[in-house]
Subunit: 474 residues, 2 copies
């Protein structure tokens, strides 16, 4: 039950503005908007609004601002940290950007695409491909996550090592501000030094400063060659050494470089249908993905030469190279089904952390050891983007332990991992953001001058504090 119900006059005004397609109040319609992807939170809302245009959104925001109604922007609702779900107060209006879903233009000469916030990431990739280009942002939720969401959270994903985070793929933004003003910053320029870089303030702000409604995105030439290898490596140091070998040989060709533990690969083999592993039984794996838009790029001989060197050096113990698109896809599936395989194995605690690339081996070893000491039998399942220093330092419950008992220790586990991360100069949230899950960690990690500055900026841009309250800033 809302503690301060929404004034019916606001609901009437929103209804008049947005019509039946643009305003949901039926509990069955609201339900999918009220819980998060991981089912960590369940909120309530007086209504979900779904504006059909930027002008409609701007007017709706003005109405809500006048009424003092807090707003929760929602894209594909795939946040890993509860960033897009309303709280339990029943006052927060969910604003779905789903109907702003046009690709406004694509220019293969400028290598830019202007896409609205509600365009699903996969649809943006497809639109780029149709124009003969590549939009390289790629992540597990790409069939559901939206352009507005991935920008608001500065999503990373698999190809960051080559193309950067969402931030680096954005040239310009259109934003509806908390007072309903529209800022048109949709500039398609590689160079534009005209005052403060406002666009970078909205990227990664998780909807706490305004609504990203459209963006100019950078495109790239499509790869003409790709190669994928699965390698069993001696240990974490060998994984890093292999990364360096590949990078030094052809930095621009390394599209992804992913680490996986033997435990995680074993869960994949055990739980996923058709989950066969070409090189079973090792403790450490990496997935190397090379791509190049050069004709005759020679990635295959390059990869073979590097693997041979690394085999001779004892870093790589065995390796297999995908011989077809189907085989390359099968190798990637081992990595991509990690979350699902882990879920089927039992309860697990996720840690999306990053350290300087050189510290990844130490992170994995020390965090694993510390968690095993904390809860004997705990099974570390580290995996992820070694090339970016971003490891999902996940922990699986001990075999036979009550899942609930393990999850009750979540905070202890997270603290244990984070103590190592901090010691290595890392971050407690690499690509998932803060959302609601990690706001209470902000004072400890980003306190003092930094958090103070963030609060001052929040107050300057959103003086009423109506944008996604309770997220990012404690």
């Amino acid at each position: 039950m809302p503690d301060q119900p929404m004034p019916s006059s606001l609901l009437d005004r929103l209804s008049a503005l947005l019509g039946p397609r643009g305003l949901l109040t039926d509990p069955a319609d609201l339900a999918p908007h009220l819980s998060d992807w991981r089912n960590l939170y369940r909120g309530s809302t007086p209504c979900v609004i779904r504006p059909g245009s930027v002008a409609e959104l701007a007017e709706a925001v003005r109405l809500c601002a006048a009424a003092g109604a807090p707003l929760v922007p929602q894209g594909g609702n795939t946040s890993m940290v509860g960033g897009a779900t309303p709280d339990e107060s029943g006052r927060q209006v969910v604003v779905s950007l789903a109907r702003l879903n046009r690709v406004r233009d694509i220019d293969p000469l400028d290598m830019t695409m202007t896409a609205e916030a509600g365009v699903v990431l996969k649809a943006a990739q497809d639109a780029a491909a149709e124009a003969g280009c590549l939009f390289p942002l790629s992540l597990g939720a790409e069939g559901t996550a939206t352009v507005g969401g991935v920008l608001s959270t500065n999503a990373g994903g698999n190809t960051t090592v080559r193309y950067g985070n969402a931030r680096e793929l954005m040239l310009g933004l259109e934003v509806v501000l908390p007072d309903g003003q529209v800022w048109n910053g949709l500039r398609r320029l590689r160079k534009d030094n005209t005052g403060y870089a406002l666009r970078h303030l909205f990227v990664g702000a998780e909807g706490t400063l305004g609504f990203i409604t459209a963006a100019v995105l950078r495109l790239f030439p499509r790869p003409r060659e790709t190669e994928v290898a699965l390698c069993a490596v001696r240990d974490e140091d060998a994984a890093l050494a292999l990364f360096r070998r590949v990078r030094d040989r052809d930095e621009g060709a390394v599209r992804a470089f992913e680490y996986m533990s033997g435990a995680g690969v074993g869960f994949y083999a055990r739980h996923i249908e058709g989950g066969t592993v070409p090189l079973p039984g090792y403790d450490h794996y990496v997935l190397v993905d090379l791509a190049s838009s050069r004709p005759e790029a020679g990635l295959r001989p390059l990869l073979e030469a590097v693997l041979e060197e690394a085999l001779e050096a004892g870093e790589v113990l065995d390796a297999t190279i995908g011989e077809s698109e189907a085989q390359r896809h099968a190798l990637w599936r081992i990595r991509e089904e990690h979350p699902e395989a882990q879920k089927r194995e039992g309860a697990s605690v996720k840690n999306d952390v990053s350290v300087p690339v050189s510290k990844v081996p130490e992170l994995i070893r020390r965090a694993s050891e510390a968690c095993r000491r904390l809860i004997p039998g705990t099974r570390p399942v580290p995996f992820g983007h070694l090339g970016d220093g971003n490891i999902h330092m996940n922990l699986e419950q001990p075999e036979g332990m009550d899942p609930a008992a393990f999850l009750a220790r979540s905070h202890d586990i997270m603290d244990t991992v984070n103590a190592v991360v901090r010691d290595l100069g890392g971050s407690f949230s690499a690509e998932h953001g803060i959302g609601r899950l990690k706001t209470d960690m902000m004072p400890d990690w980003r306190g003092g001058a930094e958090l103070d500055l963030m609060r001052r900026i929040k107050a300057a841009v959103d003086p009423q504090g109506l944008m996604n309250p309770g997220k990012v800033l404690p």
Copy 2:
């Protein structure tokens, strides 16, 4: 004469804090700090302070903030827009970062360098090279400009098409805030989504929000192969077509792609000692610079193949490829001496503008035509970074005209160029920033919600308005 002289108590405190090396008051010592690179402005100051450490700077800023003394950060003082010179009031204290000039560390595995603000750009490049890496930011003033300056202005330069602007080369910052607090954001992370991207606010803020005192910079593998070609091209469209041909063949190898007009190349041949041009007498030129860290990258055959195609298509009329480092350097010199050659030819008006890459030919043609209509006999000398859409759309005085009479029309010329730029969706300041020169253009180009937001952020971060007053924001 200062209209409100600095309180002598503040000068005493600064003197006690900084000692004789850290405080200049002798007019002869002050002089080099009081005028800008282009001699557009001449200011005055009660003193120049040169802190020897971040702690000293922080304390000095606290003292100045308490006394209400405005501060002007200065790096190499190479601003093209008067961004680092004090005004004429005699109240603004110049703060030189020159003594904060340590490279704190370099890590060739992480590919990062932590450098203080006063490190000269060339010294940063050299330090990276000594560690076997590349710091790719490269611009004409690199022997004088500093790390703090190039970040505060988000400098671009010749290699932006491959490596991005200064912003894209920065992972973390250390900043002394306007109240003297030190924010340590020197994180060496590729992924860190923990609240607002404050570092991106200080980059490009031109010292109006605080002092960048150190930065974590991204390094890259050093090129193993380079190729440079000078090409005479049919027209502006052919220049763009050639860019597309090279980019589509090996996007990652295009380190620079520069356009030059026949007029500019002619000035070079006439005014620069040893200024010989291999292919004289054409109307349009491009300089193609390819580089790759791949062993056996095959850039030479690639370049030859592309040039052959473009010759056949009638886009390239003639071309020469540098056969040695000396020859490559000689080709680059034609481009780099453009500003000097233009100066020697007579008075000129500079326009550092950008448009979407696809619009560069139209920009050059329309702006040239409009300026010739405005002042008959005016000689357009467009040159620069075609690959980024950033053209220095400069205009040389008509032969025989009084230079002063031409310069008196500067604003008319700039307005004429900018009208075309605006029509093409471009920017009135691509890489030089706003400084003092272009503040009065901000309301027209960035007015409404955007300028309003910038002002609110300025007030939130620097409530006393003491940081570099009169720059960026009107």
